[in-house]
Symmetry: C4
Subunit: 339 residues, 4 copies
Amino acid sequence: MTYQEIMEEARKNVGPYCKACLVCDGRACRNQMPGPGAKGLGEGAIKNYNSWQKITLNMDTITENKPVSTQTEVFGETFEFPIFAAPIGAMKLHYGDKYSDMEYNDILIPACKNAGIAAFTGDGMAPEVMVAATEAIRRNEGFGIPTVKPWDKDTILSKLEQIKESKALAVAMDIDSAGLPFLKNQTPPAGCKSEMELAEIIQSIDKPFIVKGIMTVKGAAKARRAGAKAIVVSNHGGRVLDGCPGTAEVLPEIRAAVGEKVEIFVDGGIRSGGDIFKALALGADAVLIGRPFVTALYGGGSEGVKVLVDKLGEELRDTMMMCGAYSLDEISGDMIRRK
Amino acid sequence: MTYQEIMEEARKNVGPYCKACLVCDGRACRNQMPGPGAKGLGEGAIKNYNSWQKITLNMDTITENKPVSTQTEVFGETFEFPIFAAPIGAMKLHYGDKYSDMEYNDILIPACKNAGIAAFTGDGMAPEVMVAATEAIRRNEGFGIPTVKPWDKDTILSKLEQIKESKALAVAMDIDSAGLPFLKNQTPPAGCKSEMELAEIIQSIDKPFIVKGIMTVKGAAKARRAGAKAIVVSNHGGRVLDGCPGTAEVLPEIRAAVGEKVEIFVDGGIRSGGDIFKALALGADAVLIGRPFVTALYGGGSEGVKVLVDKLGEELRDTMMMCGAYSLDEISGDMIRRK
Amino acid sequence: MTYQEIMEEARKNVGPYCKACLVCDGRACRNQMPGPGAKGLGEGAIKNYNSWQKITLNMDTITENKPVSTQTEVFGETFEFPIFAAPIGAMKLHYGDKYSDMEYNDILIPACKNAGIAAFTGDGMAPEVMVAATEAIRRNEGFGIPTVKPWDKDTILSKLEQIKESKALAVAMDIDSAGLPFLKNQTPPAGCKSEMELAEIIQSIDKPFIVKGIMTVKGAAKARRAGAKAIVVSNHGGRVLDGCPGTAEVLPEIRAAVGEKVEIFVDGGIRSGGDIFKALALGADAVLIGRPFVTALYGGGSEGVKVLVDKLGEELRDTMMMCGAYSLDEISGDMIRRK
Amino acid sequence: MTYQEIMEEARKNVGPYCKACLVCDGRACRNQMPGPGAKGLGEGAIKNYNSWQKITLNMDTITENKPVSTQTEVFGETFEFPIFAAPIGAMKLHYGDKYSDMEYNDILIPACKNAGIAAFTGDGMAPEVMVAATEAIRRNEGFGIPTVKPWDKDTILSKLEQIKESKALAVAMDIDSAGLPFLKNQTPPAGCKSEMELAEIIQSIDKPFIVKGIMTVKGAAKARRAGAKAIVVSNHGGRVLDGCPGTAEVLPEIRAAVGEKVEIFVDGGIRSGGDIFKALALGADAVLIGRPFVTALYGGGSEGVKVLVDKLGEELRDTMMMCGAYSLDEISGDMIRRK
């Protein structure tokens, strides 16, 4: 299957909200929630997408014609590409009846592993979601990163217990979920976590801890002090607060402030290998990509995921070759141009 | 009723000019006057709206999960939200036959009080408008702010007499009304007021005096020297002069110049709790919102006003939580991002 | 007749190219030449128009309520408004069959005089155009400014002879006409004039000499040294060179460079009293307005011209009042806001 | 034939992808490859086009009315205009069945010579393309510049042998071709060249060597050190890497860095004599123009090429006259305005 065929197929399967656009730029779904849209006016996802488009690439091909490696090592594990599938949950609510969260994860995790990358899994109010996700990760030799929502302390600790047994290579918390309309006034309750509460949570589990949903230098510093091994510069695709800047806008200042002490991932509107290259040139170690994994999987199942990852990886390799970077470490700030 | 239902109902009631848009951004009505449009090319209201959209929010949820208060105290009175309904008049001329100015105020004032805020009332050429407005305010324990147009001195002093007896918590003058096409060459005559004339008017009444229609540092300084307790940074929604900057553009420099000596309110294109948050981060103490109160009231009466205020308040609370501000005082300039 | 009625009538009369748009912004006619369009891609007129829209007004109505005067004195003559009708020629070619250049001038000159302003008249290859224009100006007590194209020296000197006898209050040359497609390889030949040639021409006539078509500091200095009493910052409405900046962009630096030694007029996309105010705030002494006079005259004859001038004048007066300027001299740079 | 007629005719001949737009701005073909579109999102060609439009011209016609020369000398040869036809290949793949690469070159080379300029010829996987191109160049007294793709060394050296015998006035290599989708994994293989490999290639032929596809100061320095006599600032019309800046953006800094030591040509979205003027004002010695030569030739054959070159040349001459430059050397940076 070609990527175009996968998207065509996806359009039959993703329910009424997502349009499975060939390039997912946040426009067609805009402010539809439920559905993949963004909060309020719905410009959050569009701003993310646009923030990458404003950056251009410094092509230079007077370089050695030698192989380009897109491999990276994260938390001691080697991946083919600096790409993770982002955590997505409540599949039936947002993407129609085809897959439950459990079914989605059961396809996604091995498909990503097969493609040389790992998937973050989402969390849900129903306890079964995390149970099934961690079991799927265990079945795939720990090749997945469960994401816990910022529930009350007891719920978190009980979920972390399940995660400990999953051999998951790391664990994440999307700290910005407090703003999700769907979690409002639900059980268990979710909300902000202070630096001290976060530190306590991080200390309770002996795995690399990733704090997702950082948009400021101040937030990054708090996550670092609380013991996070990595942060994800993210505004949750515009779904938790209307009016955030695009992630590409804030990434460089966050990297400059935290130095090399934490790994920095980034998500939000990253749709091509060129965008991944820009993210790394701005200081990220890897990227998370969300909605395109949904449509690839709904359109082509496991094969769809492989085709998407190969496409992104090939574009990244191509961009690296055209800009003179042979390994991810060689991607540098002077290879891009910011207005 | 949901806000969407209220707007749908409003569309049946607001007459031919206003389209009761779900998000009132000045586009559909543009340069229609009579009607809610702006003067000249009609871009005044659009510029106001856009000036808030250009500002983004610095989300940070590594914070304590504790209650957020949106309460504020203005002129010794406590309000649930830093929101006032803006003064609007000549209802039949601009919004169709459904309500006279008197009928509108009679619904608006108690509805606002019930929602935890206060309404400014408009002024009209017919003396009955102010008579009825001040009576309605008196019936609602002074929970309203009558607005006097910059008429000739005798007219103003006579209206201030009525206001004194209304227990209104403050009194306002929309000093920029001289530019209203509908007041041109009418009786009583309206026009600019010098700093000295303004001082004389302010001294004639023993209530906090609010000068509305300030767009420059110079104008703010004159209002302050004349004895104003508060100013409203406003260009009258673009209705008095074509080509003004958006109010969000000029607000920060006015706050910087006048310091904390006067209360600063702001209006023009503020349409969400996020916009209110931005206004406070730029230095405002509270905001005025105009047209959305008209459509909410025309679509849902007293309940419509409550739904609107609750919606705005909830959005504000949500934004405060997502940016780490627990009270209005904690909203600071570093919580927003200006290009 | 209202201005709207005049424009509706104009649409029946101005031939196939001009659309008599209510606000003439260069879009509908764009790159149609013959016709009022601009050269090349046709963005010249649009850029002019936009350059005024980018400037905003600093409203301040805490001012004395006293009369505003829009009167100005130019070359010893008093005008009601700082507005001139710009020179336009080849009427049949560009605006259809209704009026010849002679017929147009015969209506325009007295209509402008009646409205309190003066008209520049255009020049043509046919000698009769200048003969008739100067005669019309003489019949109207010199209330007009004939414009000579930069022909060869003999042609110019012969036309200046006619002008001397017309009592015209001044004489102009549109020095940028060399770029007009319609003058290319025609008889008499037109082209650039060196500073020295220009000085010689200026010295040959004892009237204030206006050099029209200045877009640079360098050009303004040359005109001044050659003896020009005034310059017109103009790019001929985009008709002589594709890709010029808007006139509002270059006006302030030209004023800064030449100081008060020459009068500066400006044209290009000025369509409202607010635009005129901005021009004066940027350093102009008066403005020229072109196409709107054509449509006003084609739609309403002499009355159309009066309605247009009154409309522009009223808008200017209104803007002055709202920004605190009582006379043209009081319009200052701090009354506008440039990004 | 007029240029408009030629384009109308071209629309019947250029196959399904190219639309033969009157002004080729990269929009109608966008991301169609095969076809003239750009890679990825297809914005590369659009960005190039827009980068010239952002620059404006400083008109000044108070200048001597003397002849303007557009002649230039490149590599010892005199040309009527600083324009080259850019290398284009795989005609049938991108522009439909009408012409093979050989047939295209056989018309283009003499047509350009006849119009006073020279053509670059493209290269192809089939050896016959270069054989035929060099023969055509020989038949036209060396008035052409063959372009070799960055193949493996043996292929390059064998092609350079053919070129030596062609009397071609120079030879070029489009070093950025490694990114062309059509060359991926083909025989012979093409790819990046290190500075040292490039130096070796350049030394192997005793003709001026032009390195095409430079977008950075660093790349320009490498080309210079490797012995290039000229570089072409180019991103291959957006066809080799998605997300490059427009060429007008990077040209001035490249000129500033390399000084006068190498000739600098530029291509990408240059569509008028005004654009050529801007390129020279930004530091280029000449420009390459691609797609408009294709459509001119498909629509009007040899005559079409002549009409296109005359049109561009006339626009250039016109712009020079209007800005006060009598020869190409007099075109200077202060004749344009960059935001």
